[in-house]
């Protein structure tokens, strides 16, 4: 069970390796210089994207914030701590987003949606897309964001999954017009504050999250207590930061805070807009995709425009995410390049294709639609979460029945 190291305090081999630490420092300094060089004039959002992306990479890597892994931990061992970390992120984000929404849209009932927030149409297409994404997660062993941070840990097989995502996105574009006319164009875009006001929306969201947390804590089966050890000296700062994985709830709270900052200054967190842009631009270049994708550019979400700049804000965010994870993994001794096998590559590619199609059709993935969507009190976020988890669970059941 790779990467199932949520609480393991295992000094990795070569952690004190001077070379790894020096390389981590060089990468970190490089990211800072990159951001500094981008910070002049109109490049400010790009510079912020770099810094936020790097921070996101570090947080994902240190707290093992992987939607699939934490769900699998729960399914296999009744370890609910990881899922509680995701709930912590959603609760923190809900509070922060609602605070900002009050500035952006003072009257939530007026029929306007907060700018750029990932609030999408709710239809059976969303349910199918989310389900496919969940199946893809299960097959490939991670969601898209986790594949990106794993790339920083040396998981070369993630390249196959991400390549599959590109193919899946292209398939998503190819089927978009049909699905749009079948359901999406008439689907309601449901935003809780428009129905219940900000107070009601916060209460509903925190109520659901609290209820889920209570259920998870009830089902949680605590790990066997470790053998009593002699009292040790309290760990130093470095050991706290890089000696062990952070509890997922710590990562969750920090990711919630990061999501608030990102929404306020750049855009909601999302990891597929750039991937989608590359797929759309490449597909359009080879005349493989419809020239017009009906209504797509009118929706908020990880919307994917044809590339007109080499480095978009989301592109900078993604590159910095991988670099942040890489530096963090180096410093923690978690960087372990993995050999590639044909069997695992095939599974990751297939899972990636399903995830790409699902993410394109649902206008985002577990980060863009589930995390940012639920924080924004979008009904589409909750629907995505439900069907994504259903797909993941059913696939897990089938895989474990063999």
């Amino acid at each position: 069970m790779p990467n199932n190291t949520a609480t393991t305090i295992a000094p990795a081999q070569g952690r004190s390796d001077f070379f790894s630490n020096a390389l981590a420092a060089i990468v970190a300094i490089g990211v800072l210089i990159w951001a500094w060089r981008l910070s002049g004039g109109v490049g400010e959002p790009l510079a912020l994207s770099v810094l936020l992306g790097a921070a996101f990479g570090v947080l994902l890597q240190r707290s093992r914030f992987c939607f699939f892994c934490v769900t699998r931990d729960f399914l296999e061992g009744r370890d609910a701590r990881g899922l509680l970390g995701i709930i912590a992120a959603l609760a923190m984000g809900t509070l922060g987003y609602h605070l900002i929404f009050g500035l952006f849209v003072p009257d939530a009932a007026a029929g306007r949606l907060p700018p750029d927030a990932h609030i999408g149409p709710v239809s059976w297409v969303l349910a199918v897309a989310a389900f496919a994404f969940g199946v893809g997660m299960s097959l490939s062993g991670s969601c898209i964001s986790a594949h990106l941070y794993r790339l920083g840990e040396g998981a070369t097989e993630s390249i196959a999954a991400l390549a599959g995502v590109l193919v899946g996105f292209a398939l998503g574009f190819a089927t978009w017009n049909t699905l749009y006319l079948a359901a999406i164009d008439r689907a309601p875009v449901l935003w809780l504050p428009a129905m219940t006001g900000y107070g009601g929306s916060v209460l509903i969201q925190l109520g659901i999250l609290g209820g889920l947390a209570l259920l998870l804590m009830r089902w949680h089966r605590p790990a066997a207590p470790a053998a009593p050890a002699a009292p040790a000296a309290p760990p130093g700062l470095r050991a706290c930061l890089f000696g062990q994985r952070w509890p997922t709830y710590v990562g969750g709270l920090l990711i919630g805070a990061l999501a608030i900052m990102a929404y306020l200054r750049v855009a909601p967190l999302g990891v597929t807009a750039e991937i989608g842009s590359i797929a759309r631009t490449t597909g359009a270049g080879f005349s493989l995709l419809p020239e017009r994708l009906q209504g797509l550019d009118g929706f908020s979400g990880c919307a994917t425009a044809v590339k007109d700049t080499l480095l978009s804000e989301n592109g900078a965010f993604i590159i910095a995410l991988v670099l942040g994870s890489f530096a963090s993994a180096l410093a923690a001794g978690d960087f372990r390049p993995q050999p590639v096998t044909l069997a695992s590559t095939t599974g990751k590619l297939a899972g990636g294709i399903l995830m790409g199609w699902g993410a394109m059709t649902a206008l985002g993935c577990t980060v863009g639609t589930l995390l940012s969507g639920i924080m924004a009190a979008a009904v589409s976020g909750w629907v995505f979460a439900f069907f994504c988890m259903l797909g993941l669970w059913l696939t897990w059941l089938l895989k474990n029945r063999r």
């Binding site: 500035l103 952006f104 907060p114 700018p115 750029d116 306020l264 200054r265 044809v306 007109d308």
Partner: protein
């Protein structure tokens, strides 16, 4: 002698006052960023942002500004018409605008949509409206203060007039001008040369298109960007006068401006009518209406046919 000198002096003073007045009048349409920064606290000044990019206002705006959304506030979203009189009046009153309020408009993308807003204010006879010279870009480039809190004002009591369409051109009038040997107005096409010549129908990445490429017969091509300096501020009245005179537009005849959907052309409408004082109409149907109309005369220098092929 003394009397003669006094008369001469009085004449000189009057001439100076008249000249100063004219100079003042020529810049009455604009305020500088310095002026706005110094007058932001005045209760009788209301700053209005009209931007096209969603989220632009929300993520930071001139403190105290009110947001009028071009996509939904100032237009009828279905019929492609301008906002109705009663709705416009209610919108302004909600923004705390009264008859004696001085309105300053600004926005993104070089004030295109703010200028369009100024055109709407003019159609409904609201006076005391000026444009922030250089718009959002200049305000930001100078590192001036931005706020994120929405402003809230007591209800204003402004009364707006019925729509005055003497500054709005409609398709039949434009077709008549295009078809006439002695046209009643000069047409100014402010799009790019490639669009004007019919080599392309529209710039890359835009959704609103027409079937045919080219321009309205008789139109001269003066791109909107020629009217501004590098920092986005309008060129001086003298420079603007010379620029358009070079294209044969000197204010001696009525003018009609157009672009693709009617927003950039309101920027040129503003320069010609508010800074130069010419008699100008904005054709808001513009090329997306004209280029899709059946049987209207079109000049296509590139000789392209359907779809620009």
């Amino acid at each position: 002698m003394i009397v003669a000198n006094a008369i001469r002096g009085a004449v000189a003073l009057a001439a100076l006052a008249l000249f100063t007045g004219l100079t003042q009048a020529s810049t009455d349409a604009l305020v500088s960023t310095d002026w706005l920064a110094n007058n932001l606290d005045r209760e009788d000044v209301r700053v209005i942002e009209v931007s096209v990019n969603p989220g632009q206002f929300e993520r930071g705006h001139i403190p105290g500004a009110v947001n009028l959304r071009w996509h939904t506030d100032l237009v009828d979203t279905v019929s492609r018409d301008i906002i109705a009189r009663d709705d416009f009046q209610a919108l302004l009153r909600d923004a705390g605008i009264s008859d004696d309020t001085e309105v300053i408009l600004y926005g993104d993308t070089n004030n295109w949509f703010a200028a369009w807003g100024a055109w709407i204010f003019d159609i409904y006879g609201v006076d005391n409206v000026r444009l922030l010279d250089g718009g959002r870009e200049k305000w930001e480039a100078e590192g001036r203060e931005l706020g994120i809190r929405p402003a809230s004002y007591a209800q204003g009591d402004v009364t707006v007039d019925a729509a005055d369409y003497s500054i709005r051109a409609f398709l039949p009038e434009v077709v008549e001008v295009a078809s006439s040997d002695e046209p009643a107005a000069q047409l100014v096409d402010i799009r790019s040369a490639a669009e004007y010549e019919g080599r392309i129908i529209a710039p890359d990445g835009v959704n609103e298109l027409s079937v045919r490429a080219g321009h309205i017969p008789g139109a001269v091509n003066v791109g909107w960007g020629n009217a501004v300096n590098e920092d986005g501020t309008f060129k001086s009245a003298d420079e603007l006068g010379a620029l358009y005179a070079e294209a044969g537009v000197d204010g001696s005849e009525p003018v009609i401006t157009y672009c693709r959907i009617g927003e950039r052309s309101s920027h040129t409408w503003f320069a010609l009518s508010k800074i130069l004082g010419y008699d100008v109409k904005n054709y808001d149907g513009s090329w997306t209406e004209y280029g899709n109309s059946v049987g209207v005369p079109v000049t296509n220098l590139a000789g392209t046919v359907w779809g620009g092929q």
